[in-house]
Amino acid sequence: MSSTRRRVEYEIVKRLVGPALMQVDHAQRRVKSLRKRAAKPAGPFGPPLESVRKLKELMTRHYLEGRYADGAVPVAWVTSGFPVEVLRPLGYHAVYPENHAALCGVQRVVPHLSEATEEVGYARDLCSYARTDIGSVMLQETPVGRLPKPDLLCCCTNICQTVLYWYRSLAAHFQVPLVLIDPPFVYGEAKPHHRQFVRDQLDELLVVAARVAKRRAPSMDEIVGVTKLAREGTRLWGECLAESRNKPAPWTGIDGFFHIAPIVTLRGTAECNAYYRQLRDELRHRVAQGIGGVREEKHRLLWDNLPIWFDVRGMSTLLAEHGFNFVCTSYTNAWAEAGSRIDPADPLGSAVFAYTDIILNQDLGKRFGTLARLAEEYSCDGAVLHSDRSCKPYSIGQLDLKQRLAKQLDIKVMVLEADHGDPRAYAVEQGHGRLTAFMESFS
């Protein structure tokens, strides 16, 4: 198919079909909600967030556009911690395999996709995001219909080294270029030559990304523009999270796991920011009205590590029933912190700091500092550290973190062993049993 034709199709979807679909969806929902009357507390939860609808719309559109993106616009597959701002002015459609894998986790298709990778020899001990993604590529199956093929793979190791091996396998499969941004792990303070290295890699990225997109490299003005948007988005996301410092918190930490999708996948776009503005306003409104995410908030917890995607609903219900809420999570917070260091006056120079000094790329002393600060700022009386079989970088050190948090903050802390994506590695009943025992210990 000619690229012009693809391009026209893509534009139609982007400008017409997507929004139109959403209109239909809206109308249907309005009818439904007329019948049901929304904004009533749902079980142990407060009334559902209005913004959820908008979130679904945004993400559905994102994946819908993706279906028509390859051949029409350059497509990049990008890790969650990658400086995507640089790609936006070049017209890239960015696909986030991690976000996609999370979606597969929620829909419980991970075992199926992972089996395909295990069949060709991938060990089941590997990160389930990677197994899910590679399985989805091999089988060409995805719950979102279709993922566009990449023209460029963009990997940043500021979250883990796993992405390096994973993207290396993707590069071998798709036979497309892979750009790597490798910010050295920060022990104490990053050394000047470490910062310089990241800066140099960003410069190289600009060249490669432009070449693959067959465009001239973006101008500084363009980069500044996107950077402003990204920073604003990050700030707004931070504001949404910060509303949970109120008592009761206007939403649950588990809501946060879902609402994080735009800041990860659409960072640096106007839609992303519009969305978070709406969400923030809704949360503020709820705070003013005294509406909580959990109907009766008795205890406030901190969550560390990725969510257990396939059990988020079950777990949040269990907690809400006991009057517990995860009022903050180190995972959702990471996206509010990283971008706050972006300075539109010096987009690339500040990106060095923004993308190097993120929670998973720093020593455990700083990790502890962040957790302790969050626990205090959000008045937590307990913490659950999810020891995630699939994510070693996030999980190493948690047993020590537990001791320290409990001792220094005098709060109750438990370590819950599970997996962020693969239900075969986690016995839900046992996990809920342990959580229940933990909650009982508060009374």
Binding site: P111, P423, R424, A425, A427, V428, E429, Q430
Partner: protein
């Protein structure tokens, strides 16, 4: 045991749960056999069994030993792994290229047997019991279902209740909670078989399109498992005659 010829060799397969021994004739027919639970004192046990068999046939014979206790069979003239012996044993029965799935107590092996009876490739589970007969045994024990009634139970299932954990410990607790939630036993058992079969299929990896599957080992006596395996591999699975004795048969043939 038809058309029995003169005995030519003895084969002993000392598995982790059962100890098997056969006497064969030149054509590979089994003249006599023994199956008993494996005794911790393997040497004593195999010496006794060998003495009995020698006495019964009335002569000295070469002895092939296999199984995890193969190095503790006094007087063995040929010592080979179960992989090689199962391949020989299976090939002597089917005389063509096949994929053999042997599911025993502690391990499961998949052996791709070439057209000449050679081992073309094999896979075997690691230390973990997931994917072996032991997995079923533990959970059936918990559910108090006797082994020989399993197939009948599974056949009665109206639907399959998925069991997602494949780790024996996790699966055990998952099954218990399914029972507590009032799921019917038959459905759970079917789900359990399907889960185990999937694990074995994963071990098998990508099989040639025209592969024919035959099964041996104690678990092959469980018809429900044979069906589940066929479904998971999307192929017909046939069970070898005397599935438990295939390894011992191969050992005997190798020694003769």
């Amino acid at each position: 045991m038809t058309g029995a010829g003169a005995p030519v060799a003895i084969g002993v397969d000392v598995g982790s749960t059962t100890c098997k021994a056969v006497v064969v004739d030149r054509a590979g027919a089994i003249l006599r056999h023994r199956v008993e639970p494996t005794h911790p004192r393997t040497e004593q046990q195999t010496t006794r069994i060998l003495d009995e068999l020698r006495l019964a046939v009335g002569c000295e014979l070469p002895i092939g030993a296999t199984g995890y206790g193969r190095k503790r069979v006094p007087g063995a003239t040929k010592v080979l792994t179960e992989i090689t012996c199962h391949a020989r044993g299976a090939f002597s029965r089917v005389k063509r290229a096949v994929v053999l799935v042997d599911m025993g107590g502690q391990d499961t092996k998949i052996v791709r047997i070439g057209p000449g009876g050679d081992v073309a490739d094999f896979a075997m589970n690691d230390k973990c019991a997931a994917g072996t007969g032991r997995f079923l045994e533990v959970i059936l024990g918990r559910l108090q279902v006797p082994f020989d009634e399993v197939s009948a139970h599974v056949a009665r299932a109206r639907r399959s209740v998925p069991v997602s954990s494949t780790c024996t410990v996790f699966a055990e607790s998952e099954v218990i909670s399914l029972v507590a939630q009032g799921e019917e036993l038959e459905g759970i058992l079917r789900g359990l078989h399907e889960s185990l079969a999937k694990r074995v299929a994963a071990l098998a990896g990508v099989l040639p399109a025209d592969a024919r599957i035959v099964m041996s080992g104690g678990v092959a006596l469980n018809a429900a498992m044979v069906d589940a395996l066929g479904a998971a591999l999307r192929r017909e699975v046939s069970v070898l005659p005397d599935p438990q004795l295939v390894g011992a048969l191969g050992a005997a043939l190798s020694a003769s």
